[in-house]
């Protein structure tokens, strides 16, 4: 899932300092699961902002709504009738949701309430670890299911580098060396031949904004044009 971390209260206060009537929009999917921007976090943040603004003698009227998802038009439509009642919108969704919301209501300033940090696994409640950088050229089949782009601090395709340190990465003893893990796993599977082959330079696909259209589907305007 996509994971995110709530921004510090001071930063959020600063973003909203000129607005007196604000709608805080939570997102019920990824950021709710990772405890950053679901219904509960919206309520907590609103209480904090309400109190902080009172103390600053600059009261704010801040309402709450949590959508199923902010990356889907169907759910954003729920705000169409009420958005115009607000001077600004705060979104607790990931960067994707914030942008889709801002796109839907271009006349209203939209502010992010969280910092999105990536695609991660749930190790335990409140503990998430990044696993994918969405490079669009997956090599996990060759690397024992361990991503060298994400898990190696240098994103090496032909590791490990000389900085591997008793199974740890050179950046920190707590960070396992991805290529050490790749070696160990492939060795256990008897598949070390997978990494004897030189992996050539990547054709990076994530250097432009990407659009994905699944086979058998078309973009809406293309469908309309045809």
């Amino acid at each position: 899932m996509i994971v995110a971390k709530r921004k510090p209260l001071e930063e959020l206060k600063n973003q909203l300092k000129d607005y007196k009537k604000v709608l805080n929009v939570g997102c019920g999917t990824c950021v709710a699961v990772c405890l950053a921007g679901g219904e509960k976090e919206v309520a907590v943040l609103n209480a904090e902002l309400d109190m902080a603004r009172k103390m600053d003698n600059n009261p704010i009227e801040i309402d709450a709504v949590t959508l199923e998802r902010q990356c889907d038009r169907e759910y954003l439509a729920e705000l169409d009738a009420i958005a115009k009642n607000y001077e600004a919108i705060l979104s607790m969704a990931c960067g994707v949701g914030v942008q889709f919301l801002a796109e839907r209501f271009p006349e209203i300033p939209v502010f992010p309430a969280v910092d999105t940090s990536g695609l991660a696994v749930n190790q335990d409640v409140g503990w998430y670890e990044e696993r994918c950088r969405s490079c669009e050229s997956c090599v996990l089949g060759q690397t024992g299911g361990i991503c060298p782009v994400t898990m190696c601090a240098k994103g090496l395709y032909n590791g490990p580098c000389g900085g591997t340190n008793q199974g740890s990465c050179e950046i920190h003893m707590d960070q396992p060396c991805a290529w050490y893990m790749i070696y160990e796993r492939l060795e256990k599977q008897g598949r070390l031949d997978c990494i004897h082959e030189f992996i050539p330079a990547q054709d990076w696909k994530n250097q432009v904004p990407r659009t994905l259209v699944q086979p058998g589907y078309k973009k809406v305007e293309e469908t309309e044009a045809s």
Partner: protein, 307 residues
């Protein structure tokens, strides 16, 4: 001959190679480079010019390489994958070659987190293995990584690093083989202190026939002090400093520690001269360039061959 490099001539001529290292300054003073270079002149076959080593900003490695050429020394231009993408790498290679650079060392580079700009974006567009392959393609096929033709390809002698002491040990020799397949001509190893481990690694390389395909220069860094030895042991990732080295330095009078460090280095060099599969020594006398003449003399590697 693949290049017009002096180092290549020394190695192909069957001589025991001896290379040095010079770290560019953290400023614009060319004199600093020239003074360091003066200590190395006539003492080594080529001088590695480090590229923002430990991820700290310094005078660019190609610029310091040019200063060395002007002083009549041969640089070994180091390039890391951390700071440049494939466009910048290839253009720097063309420029460096145009100015007389003939050797190049292809490295991943220390992570930016170690340096003076820890929050910089690391580039790593390609890795060191892919860099070797790119330079070889530029030289032998006269083509950029994109496949387009180069007018006047850079005829470089291609080097890379190897660390026999990083785990998993069993993989190290296979990674060396990968670098050879990618197109490397010579290897300079990580600083060697654990001789036993190094002997094992070179034996594996010999057994696999790798030392017939690549020139291996054994990395030697004399210990200047006990503090340096302890720091290298505890803090430098991928460095293997056995307790015997620490004990030996502890066993001499404080004033004699540096001399003992040089003595250890010279003993190592003596062994490397006789070791099958070792084609030379890469002496990394870190911020100790003025000691290189003394070490070269004591190690019996002078005079250097002129070819």
């Amino acid at each position: 001959m693949k290049s017009d490099s002096n180092l290549e001539k020394v190695l192909t001529g069957g001589h025991f190679a001896f290379t040095g290292e010079l770290g560019p300054p953290r400023g614009t003073d060319a004199k600093e480079v020239i003074e360091k270079a003066a200590h190395l002149k006539g003492m080594v076959d080529a001088v590695n010019i480090t590229d923002n080593q430990t991820a700290v900003v310094r005078m660019s490695s190609w610029a310091a390489s040019l200063l060395l050429i002007q002083e009549g020394l041969e640089p070994n231009f180091q390039m890391v994958c951390r700071d440049r993408n494939r466009l910048a790498m290839q253009s720097d290679i063309l420029g460096a070659y145009a100015h007389g650079v003939r050797n190049m060392l292809c490295l991943s580079g220390d992570h930016q987190q170690f340096g003076d700009h820890p929050t910089a974006q690391g580039v790593f567009d390609i890795d060191s293995m892919q860099l070797i392959s790119m330079v070889k393609t530029m030289r032998d096929e006269g083509k950029f990584l994109s496949g387009t033709e180069i007018e006047g390809p850079p005829k470089l002698f291609i080097g890379a690093a190897a660390n026999p002491f990083a785990q998993p040990y069993e993989w190290r020799v296979h990674r060396l083989a990968k670098k050879i397949n990618a197109g490397v001509d010579f290897i300079q190893t990580q600083c060697i202190y654990n001789m036993e481990r190094f002997r094992e690694w070179i034996k594996q390389a010999n057994d696999m026939g790798l030392t017939e395909k690549v020139y291996i220069l054994a990395g030697v860094t004399p210990m200047k002090s006990l503090g340096m030895a302890r720091y290298m042991k505890a803090k430098v990732p991928g460095m293997d400093v056995p307790d015997e080295i620490i004990k030996r330095l502890q066993g001499v009078d404080k004033k004699e520690v540096a001399q003992e460090g040089i003595k250890i280095a010279c003993e190592q060099i003596e062994e490397f001269k006789e070791m099958k599969g070792v084609a030379g020594v890469h002496l990394m006398a870190i911020e100790w360039e003025h000691k290189v003449p003394e070490i070269a003399e004591k190690a019996g590697v002078l005079p250097r061959p002129t070819i």
